[in-house]
Amino acid sequence: MTPRLIEVRANILKENDVLARALRERFERAGVCVVSFVSSPGSGKTTFLENLMARMAAKHRIAALVGDLATENDAARLRRACPRVRQITTGTACHLDAKMVAAALEGWALEDLDYLFIENVGNLVCPSSYDLGEQMRVVLLSSTEGEDKPLKYPTIFNTADVAMITKMDLAAAAEFDLAAARRNILTVRPGMRIVEVSAKTGAGMAETEAMIEGLRAVV
């Protein structure tokens, strides 16, 4: 007997995509602007977000979700800037998905928020496949990492909307080649907006804030 072939032709992550689409619609209806942040571990996501949220908390209603395999440490840090922070502990999963985001939002009135920040698990590979319903995805690259990270992890740079080069205050000490890093980002993702920041000195933070505030005009 000949085997039967069933045509499926569906995205393997269909369930996530459906959930992410529903989240995006919810965010739009509530008028909340959602930005996610991805990077390798130790690139300064949490310090950057602490700084950004402290700057924005006075003017806007903000909240954050932060993903890690274990511990509540990052949420505790971000709570110093803003009380509405929830930790998502993924256990063994190396990325956030739309289901985890939806579950973490439980009980929050999204209408009461202007901005929601999502800090993904530190990982430059896996988060690229999972849509979280965010309006903007930001990939962070620190000056203490290699300039060729974008070439090594092209998918995450290609799926992000903005690249941020962090720890610019350490660039000289790390002999960071800024021109090469910018060139590499643009090779992988031509036309990508690149912002250089230092959460420590505050350099580039005003530009970042303005960029994110600009997003809301579109919501």
Partner: protein, 113 residues
């Protein structure tokens, strides 16, 4: 690294399909784009582990790799690009429109009869 999650997502959809159509699944065909973020070798490995103790314990995974194909919005040239250098080889326009390469598709299932 997230290939195990991908394998589990595949199985969820396969369970639904198998329940609808009935019968054991001999093999499953997937299409994985070069720019999908999924590593085919890791997925093969993850599949071996994920299928154990499930109705798909003997289901073979067949992967069709889909190249990163881009089109130049300036000159219309279509070419297969390297992920780390996608600019147009003809007119060097950097920004390219991605035609294929992001696929993460459960294409079909071959059923035992």
């Amino acid at each position: 690294m997230h290939e195990l999650s991908i394998a589990l997502s595949m199985m969820e959809q396969m369970e639904q399909q198998a329940a609808k159509h009935g019968g054991a699944v001999r093999s499953v065909q997937v299409r994985i784009g070069d720019m999908s973020g999924v590593d085919c070798e890791a997925l093969r490995f993850a599949w071996q582990i994920a299928r154990e103790g499930t109705p798909f314990a003997r289901t073979e995974l067949e992967i069709e790799k889909v190249p990163l194909l881009v089109r130049c919005p300036q000159c219309g040239e279509t070419h297969e690009a390297e992920m780390f250098a996608i600019a147009c080889p003809r007119c060097v326009t950097p920004e390219q429109e991605i035609l294929t390469g992001r696929e993460l598709e459960l294409r079909s299932m071959e059923m035992e009869t």
